[in-house]
Structures are given as C-alpha cells and as structure tokens.
C-alpha cells in the first residue's frame, strides 16, 4: 500500500469515526474495508486502531477483532466479548464494552492453569450493571453470568489475545502521539519569561523523552506484527502502555494547569489510554510477566529481533 492510499484511507477513517458509537461493521463494509484488510492486514489494523484513537471513538472494533481471531471456535453470530478483568474463578464475570441485546451471543474466556475454554452466553443470561471507568465517555458494563453457560474448546484464544494486544498497542501509541502533539502545540505558543516555554531545556527534554518512548513502542509494534507471537505482542503492549503513561505525565506537567482541566482536550487522550492499558494486562503487570520469563529462562535470552 503506498503512502497516498494510506493518507486517503486515514482521512476516510477519521471521518467515519467522528461520533461513531457501537457497531461500525456496516460502515466499514461500505468503505470497502474487507479489501483493504485482504491487501494488507497489518496496515489495515494499524490504520483502523490509530484512527479510532484519534477520534476517541467508542465502537466495537476490538470485540470484532477478537471474535474474528477466534474464528470457527465461536458461533458466527457472536457479537461481544466479556473481557476478563482479574482471573475468573468459578463464576464468569467481566467487562462489556457495549450492551448486548437479549438474543445476542457473548463470548467469555475461562482460563484455568492449563487451558482456556470459551463460555458462550446469551445476552439475556447476563446480569449487567453500568461501569464507571477512568474515561467518563465510555459506557461500559460489568457483567456476571446468571445461568450455566455452554463451554466450547478453543485453540485460538491465545492468538486472539496476541492480536488484541497488538491492536491495543496501536491505539495506545496513537493516543500518545495525540498527547505529545497537544503538548508540543501548547508549549510552542505559551509564552513565559519572554519566550515560548518549549524553548526551555527542562520542557524540551521531557518532550524529547516522550518522543523516544513512543519510538520504542512503534519499533516493538513493528516487531510484534512481523513476529506474530505472544512474547512480541506482550512486549509491544507493555511498551505502548508504559510510553502512554510517561508521555501523559510529561504532557500534563508542561501544559500547566489548563492541561489538567476538562476545558482542555489533553485529558481525553490520557483517560482513554488509562482504560485501554488496563485491558489484557496493564503494562506493569506485563513487565512482571517478562521478569518471570527472564528468571526462568535457562538458555540464552530470546533476542526476538534479528537484523
């Protein structure tokens, strides 16, 4: 896909995602998105989740991505994922990013020490309650299963998690870019002591460090898409979440008080990132898992990236 196509697609997605809520499958189909995915699935995923981040859209694309990755393991009509929050014990509970209808099919992963199976649940069999999240624009729900659910075996859950982590990393990176963009814009125009504050070294270095953290996240996401495996996906999401936290901290500081108010857009990109970081493993939890890997590796450390 050439640069011009990418720019055009980006613009179409930006337009599509303005005020978009819920299921956008039909609009995407109209856009000919299936062909884009067929031509270059990696670029398609990155463009989609990047535009989603820029618009702070509230659609079901992440659920859709996971359901597609689960493929034949789940009923074709499944329309929602019950996102695990902590390790579910006997009871199936989790987070819904949108409220399913009574007849909609919801898929929930049940992981024990050895494997994951999927609970297939009717919307009507869920007890739901609105969930307050760090991002007040999100209308998410917590849900528990009221009736016994059908369990189906799956071999694709792990790879669905990898795909979702890559998508989340793409979205977190795009959010970080927006946060940095706002901070660069603010500090370039805000004048104190007779100079734009971006001319002060203390400010410049925070912004440069922000940029470098995003650069590392982008490199790891490239690797994760090339590699396709779980370790690379975990690294990519860990760095994307970590970069988002670092960039957010620096941006709020250099934007001054206005950046910490509802009157400035900065918080919208920060709030959304905090929520997305919490899906499928917060960055520091993923780092701890990486630490486990380092501690238990008895041969050479995986180099993962080769020239």
């Amino acid at each position: 896909m050439d640069a011009e196509q990418v720019t055009l697609l980006s613009a179409s997605l930006d337009e599509m995602f303005v005020d978009a809520v819920g299921d956008v499958s039909a609009v995407l189909a109209e856009l000919g998105w299936d062909e884009v995915v067929a031509e270059d699935p990696v670029v398609a995923t990155r463009l989609l989740f990047t535009a989603h981040a820029r618009a702070r859209a509230r659609t079901t694309i992440l659920d859709r991505l996971v359901l597609d990755a689960l493929g034949g393991d789940v009923p074709a009509l499944a329309s929602a994922v019950l996102w695990p929050v902590a390790k579910p014990e006997s009871m199936v509970c989790g987070i819904l990013t949108h409220l399913p209808g009574d007849d909609d099919i919801v898929v929930a992963p049940l992981t024990d020490a050895h494997e994951t199976s999927l609970a297939v649940i009717r919307g009507a069999d869920l007890v739901t309650a609105p969930l307050k999240t760090f991002d007040p624009t999100l209308e998410w729900f917590e849900a528990t299963v009221a009736a016994p659910a059908d369990l189906v075996a799956t071999t694709s859950w792990d790879s669905a998690v990898d795909a979702a982590r890559r998508a989340l990393a793409a979205e977190l990176i795009a959010l970080s870019h927006e946060v940095l963009r706002l901070a660069v814009a603010h500090t370039g125009t805000r004048t104190q002591f007779g100079a734009p504050i971006a001319a002060f070294q203390a400010v410049r270095h925070r912004l440069a460090d922000s940029r470098v953290a995003i650069t590392a996240a982008e490199g790891l996401l490239d690797v994760a898409f090339d590699d396709g495996g779980p370790l690379a996906a975990r690294l990519a999401k860990a760095q994307a979440g970590r970069a988002h936290q670092l960039v957010s901290g620096h941006a709020v500081q250099v934007c001054g008080a206005i950046g910490a108010t509802l009157e400035h857009p900065l918080h919208t990109f920060i709030d959304r990132g905090v929520v997305l970081d919490s899906l499928l493993g917060r960055w520091d939890a993923l780092v701890s898992e990486l630490g486990d890997l380092v501690l238990t590796t008895t041969t050479a450390m995986p180099r993962l990236v080769e020239v």
């Binding site: 971006a198 002060f200 270095h205 440069a208 490199g219 690797v223 690294l235 380092v294 180099r303 990236v305």
Partner: protein, 383 residues
C-alpha cells in the same frame, strides 16, 4: 577493484549466520570463551587473537569494502557477528566497538587510506583511537581547538584530545582538528589519520572509576602529518564526523544489546526471584528488546546507504536507558554482594556498572541527544 570479488555471503545474510555459527562453535575458539580480563590493555591484546582467527577464516571480512581487505556486505553482517559471538560465549570488546565507528567513515571518505590501513585493524593486529573530544569541547564539539596548520604538504598538528577510548594502546588516531579559524566553527574542521608513533604524539591512559583504563588523553606537539592523511577533503571534517556518529549511535547500540542480553541472563541466575526482581529484570528486558526493535530499522537503513540523521539520537538515548536499566537492576538485586565481594564474577558487575554510567555521556551526552530531537524531530522553538 579488478580481480577482487566480494565473498559468497556478501548478499546472503542467513547463510552467513549459519556458517558463522558453525565456525564459532569450533574448538579453535575455546581459548576465548567466557573470557573477561580486568586489565583493559591485556584484554585488548588477548581478544585481538580471536579477531585474527575469525578474520583469517574470512568471516571477519564482511561489512568491510572489497579493496580494503574486506569481502563486501554491509553493517548487517556486523550485527549478525555481534549476536553470534555472544551466543557462542565469545567476547565482544573494544576492537569491535572501535571498528563499528571508524571503519565505515574511512572507507567512504578515504578509500586509499582504508585500503592501506584498514585490513590490519579489521584483523585485530592493531586498533585506532577516535580523537574528537577535548578539555574545552565535549558536548559542544564544534568549538574544538586542536589545530592543524598547513605547511607545504604537511599539517602541523598541535593540541589535546580527551576521553579517547583505548587511545593508550591504539596504533593510530582518527583526529578531528581545526584547519580553519576558530570562528569558522564546524566549517573549519578536517579529519586526519595519525600514526601514534609520529614525533610529538604523547598519550596517557585514563582509568574509569571502575579501575579499568578504558580511556586516554592525547597530546599533540607540532606533529607533522602528510596531507594525504586527510579523511575527506580539508574542511569536510564535520561531515565525516556526523557520518561516523550515525554508526556510533546506531550500530554500536545493536552491539551492546547482544552483550547486555547475555549479562541480563547471567544476572537472572545470580539473584533470588521476587516481585522486585520480576519488575526490574522485566523492565531491563523490555528496554533491551525495545532498543533492538528500534535499532534494527536504523541498521537496515544504514546498510542500504541511507542517512539516518537526527533520528539516530533516539537509538542513543534508548541505549543509555537500557544499559543503565541492566546495571541498576544488578546493583539493586545483588544486594550487599554488589558492595562486598571478592568474587571476580561479582566484582565485574560493579566495574560494568561504572561503565554503564558513561553510556549517557560518551558519543554526545544524553542532554545533547534530547536537544537534537527537540530541535530537529519535534521542531520545538530554540531558546
């Protein structure tokens, strides 16, 4: 060059890796496996034997120009060499880092000098110092004062260089000096290739706080250097230096990831597990693979002959963070053993911890790299 051909692996990196891996597993190299020598000069001499064996078997000739004792290929061959050396338990030391920074610029800007001198360097018979920093010109490199005054067909060089890695044992110095006026800043600089046994050259080692003599201070007192020792044209020194720094910032970073991944593995076997260990070792691993993920793009671009420019500063900053992440983890997780131990294996962590402190200083301090990104990547207004 007529009659000189590139080697069979010049265009086949995967085959190079496989053949190199087999070669490096040979008993001929067992002498060097796991070696770490306290005395830097002795370490350089000892490891040069290994460099020679690998060069004579042709594997060490890739990444060097045909016509300069090389068999072609590019810096990706070096990246493979670094990874495979470490994987084979072999040392990756001063020779490799000096070659990483100095070989490409001399090949590009002075092919005749490269043809004459580079083979001995690549073979490990000798190594060269990089004479850039001065007492009054560190981060502000363009203010350097070491002078080269043209006198017929010679430059007469007088001045001082500082922080020259392995300078005290080097046979030559790649010297950035002022051949124009002080006011000419970076436009009045030239790069010269000096023999360290020329009359008027005096070099003394500088010991890092670790006790290792990694650095040197060089004095030049009216050293007569023939004009044919120019690397590039007169006045082109800054351009050559900037070309060089791309390799120092990017390919060297890849080299360190190879070493640091091995050190991280060693650390993990030496410390008790726990939440702190998981957090710190996981962070260091993320830093290292994040650096590799970034560096692989840069190395490929350099291999393709592209200029990397200000973005190489990101590689350099990520290297500093990763290097210090590993050794801060060591200091924290080894506990009291980091401070109290006579065991050489444990004392090595302390020595390397000191070296890791310099990673954010040499090759352009981290503050300078951040400034480059602020100016030229983020386009922030200047003060």
């Amino acid at each position: 060059m007529a009659g000189v051909l590139s080697g069979p692996y010049a265009d086949d990196l995967p085959a190079y890796r496989v053949a190199l891996r087999t070669f490096l597993s040979s008993p001929d190299l067992d002498l060097w496996r796991g070696c770490y020598i306290d005395d830097v000069a002795e370490e350089m001499r000892f490891v040069s034997g290994m460099v020679r064996v690998i060069y004579d078997a042709d594997f060490g000739k890739y990444g060097f120009a045909v016509g300069a004792g090389g068999l072609g290929g590019d810096v990706r061959h070096w990246a493979v060499m670094y990874d495979e050396l470490v994987a084979a338990g072999l040392p990756l030391t001063g020779q490799h880092s000096l070659l990483t920074t100095l070989a490409q610029p001399i090949s590009r800007y002075a092919p005749e000098l490269a043809a004459k001198y580079l083979p001995a360097f690549a073979r490990g018979d000798e190594w060269w110092g990089q004479g850039f920093s001065e007492p009054e010109a560190g981060s502000d490199l363009a203010s350097l004062r070491c002078r080269g005054v043209l006198d017929g067909d010679h430059y007469v060089v007088s001045g001082q260089k500082l922080w020259t890695s392995h300078g005290a044992t080097a046979s030559h110095t790649v010297l950035l000096c002022r051949t124009g006026t002080t006011e000419s800043r970076h436009r009045g600089l030239s790069m010269l290739f000096l023999d360290n046994d020329m009359p008027g050259v005096e070099i003394r080692p500088i010991y890092l706080a670790s006790g290792r003599a990694e650095l040197a201070e060089c004095f030049f007192d009216e050293v007569r250097v023939p004009v044919d020792r120019l690397i590039g044209e007169a006045g082109q020194g800054w351009e050559v230096a900037m070309y060089l720094l791309q390799f120092e910032r990017a390919v060297y970073a890849w080299q360190r990831t190879a070493v640091l991944l091995e050190r991280l593995g060693a650390l993990a076997t030496a410390v008790p597990s726990g939440d702190l260990a998981r957090q710190q070792l996981g962070t260091a691993y993320l830093d290292l693979i994040g650096l590799r993920a970034r560096s692989v793009e840069t190395v490929r671009r350099l291999a393709a002959g592209e200029a990397v420019g200000p973005e190489a500063s990101a590689d350099k900053l990520l290297l500093g963070a990763a290097e210090q992440s590993v050794y801060d983890a060591a200091r924290s997780l080894l506990g009291e053993q980091f401070a109290f131990s006579s065991d050489p294996t444990l004392r090595r962590w302390g020595q390397e911890w000191w070296f890791s402190r310099t990673t954010t200083i040499y090759g352009g301090a981290a503050e300078v790299q951040r400034g480059i990104i602020a100016d030229r990547v983020l386009n922030l207004p200047r003060g």
